[in-house]
Each structure stands twice: as C-alpha cells, then as structure tokens.
Symmetry: C2
Subunit: 230 residues, 2 copies
Amino acid sequence: MSQKAVVICSGGLDSTTLLYYVKLKRHLTPVVVSFNYGQAHQKELNCIKSLSKSLKLEHIIVDLSKFGRLLKSSLTQTSIQTPLTHYTHQTQQITVVPFRNSWMLLIAAGIARSKDINLVFYGAHRNDQTVYADCRPIFVEQINKLLEVADYQQVKVEAPFISLTKAQIVKLGYELGVDFRRTWSCYLGRRYPCLKCGTCQERIEAFEKNDLRDPLVGERRWKKILKKLK
Amino acid sequence: MSQKAVVICSGGLDSTTLLYYVKLKRHLTPVVVSFNYGQAHQKELNCIKSLSKSLKLEHIIVDLSKFGRLLKSSLTQTSIQTPLTHYTHQTQQITVVPFRNSWMLLIAAGIARSKDINLVFYGAHRNDQTVYADCRPIFVEQINKLLEVADYQQVKVEAPFISLTKAQIVKLGYELGVDFRRTWSCYLGRRYPCLKCGTCQERIEAFEKNDLRDPLVGERRWKKILKKLK
C-alpha cells in the first residue's frame, strides 16, 4: 500500500479534484477529512461522503456543527444572507468564515499526526485569493512555519493548486476522470445550484472557459446561461 | 464598559490567573472561551463554568468532544494511560494533544473576529515549554504571523505569562485574589487530584515554592507531600 496523506475535502469541485490528483498523480493513499461546521450547503458533505465510499477511502467528517454557529458568516448563520451577486472582494466578504481554513488545517494536522501521517493536502486555488486571504501562497508558507514550531514532530501542508485558476482545475479534473456530478459548490445548498451566488458564478465560468457544461446544470439551462455570459 | 478580549481558559491554574490578570491588570472585559475536546479531566470545565458565572462573564464552551476522540493522546483516548511519573519531556510526550493549542487559538480568533474583538489571551507559561512546543515564545510569534496573513481583518494573540514559571503564576494569582479551589489541573479528573501525574506534580511544586498549600489538598496530606519533596 502506498504512503498515506490527509486530503482536506469539502465535496466541492477543487478539493475533489485534489483528491484525484493526490491518488493518481502523487500515488498516495488519501485519508479524506471533511468538516461539518454547520455550513448551509451540507450537500457538499453528502457528495464527498458518497464519493469516498465509492473510492473505498477512509473518510472522517469532523463534527464542528455546534461551534460553527458561533461564527459570523452567511455560510454559518441563517440570519445573514448569502449575496447573490458577482464574485468580488466586497460582495463575498460576508461569506468568509472567520479563520476557517486556518483551524481546518490545524485540526487536519492533528488528525494526521495521530495517524503518523506527515502530509496534509489543501485545495486553495488562485481565484479565491481576492476574497479569501487564507488562499494565498503566503498563508500556506505561514501555516508551514507554524507547524514547524507547534510540535516537535513534523506535519507539512501542500497546496498544489495554489497557482491554478478554477478553470485550470476543471481541466485537470476532467483529465483525471473526476465525476463533477458528484461535487457541490453552491453556497445555498438547495436541490439545484442557485446559479446566482458567487461560487455558482465562479463554477459556471470555469466550465465555460473549458468549453464544458457543468453536469449539475441541464443542457437547456446551460445554453441560457451561456447566452447571458456573452 | 471596558473593551472586550477573548481569554482562552481551561479551568486550570494558569489560565484562571490569566483571566483575573486580564480583568484586573489590563482592565479589559474577558469573553471566556473554553474547549471541550473530550479531555479526561472534564472537571476543569466545571470549574471555569462556575467561575465565569460568579464573575458574570460571558462564557463559551466550544464543543469539540467528538473530534477530540480522533486525536492520539492520553488526555483524549482512554486506551492510552496518563503517565504517573515526574514531569519530563519523555514521560509527558503522550499527554500532548496534537496541535491542540494551535487549533484552539485559531478557533478562538474566529470567535473573536465574529464578535469584533481583536485580542486573544493565551496562558502558555515557561514550565510547559520542555514538553509542549506550542508554549514557546516562537510559537506565539508564528501564530501572530499566521493571523496577519490569514484574514484581511486583524486579531492578535497575547501570552503575557510566557516567561513566567508556574510558581510565579501562583504568586500572581494569589496577589490578584484567585480562588485556587476553583481551578483544576490533574489530568485524571477524578474526585481528588491524583498528586502523581505530571501536572499534579508541577502544581504541587508551584505552591510549595511560594510557601503556600494547594487548597485542593488537605493539610495532613500536604504535610506528607512536603516531607517527600525534601
């Protein structure tokens, strides 16, 4: 059996592609770690749960749902509305879950160390950086510097997609055989993607740039979306 | 009302003294944050819960009990025995909860940011540093460097006891009027302190160096302990 690595996987498009990348390109056995922090879009957790099962991977859902409610964000507090506008720094600010990626990474590092695993994969990518400070290369650098001094045993974080755009991730995922029907992005987490929130719009653009249709969207609706984009 | 600050408080001697310090010396209103990570010594949580109530302070217990069981440590897994020997690096290694102080601090920072508070107090002190890498000044430096890049809004961690010994903290606590009967240290978390585990021994020494008796220990038993120490 190949060496193990923890892969933080939300069930979204980026981290699911990361999972395939770790398995197929890095030839490591992923231990999938997901977080239930009470996010409105719990649907993403169902995606990764069923996918991990299909791929016969160990999957840990860290239950932080009670804690999540304490955090001020449209993703964790129903009283705050998720902005249904284009993906910009200003509009998306309220979707930031305070220090989420920081505590996720440290918790994942704790799980890794408990399993004698020394590598944690993190799916941050380039598009996110304008909104989310913790998707920047300098953040990954600092997390690793922290990990170096936080314990006498080493765990390292790798973010191989940090310089890729979401469109490039879709391309990679397509090549690796990711079934995008089994990923979820929409912040609202309803039956169908809202196609209006920031992450829906980002996802649409990523597929469109690859001349692909998002398989979560029907053909007729997709054509309408493309018309609007032009 | 004075400015607020988050104080991470386990219910132990150090962080309870920190709470008094923040309130009385720094003239800030503490928002007390404690963590239930399934620690064997849940008793410490009862201490801080009742103390916060007496002091009329907002108290948040972050429930990570399900997550805690995933972590390999004698404090979180009943199958691993807590060493009942003197406090040294080697013997206490198994009491390390992987990256606990790191994720605690980041979670506390998330709570702080959600409440528009920009300061988190952390009770690390000098004695802990031989065992716990995350009680060293360099760790606090790195946490702050991480916080600087992890969000576009700032939260800072302060560890005012980082260069104090536990004996010096007992002295300070005594001066500030801390009721040490309402603090708990013993890792075993039984009815009475075991007086054998590393943290019990550290606590005994801290009181002894101040010519004080730990009020959790009866007078007769205390005299016996002092005899053994000599």
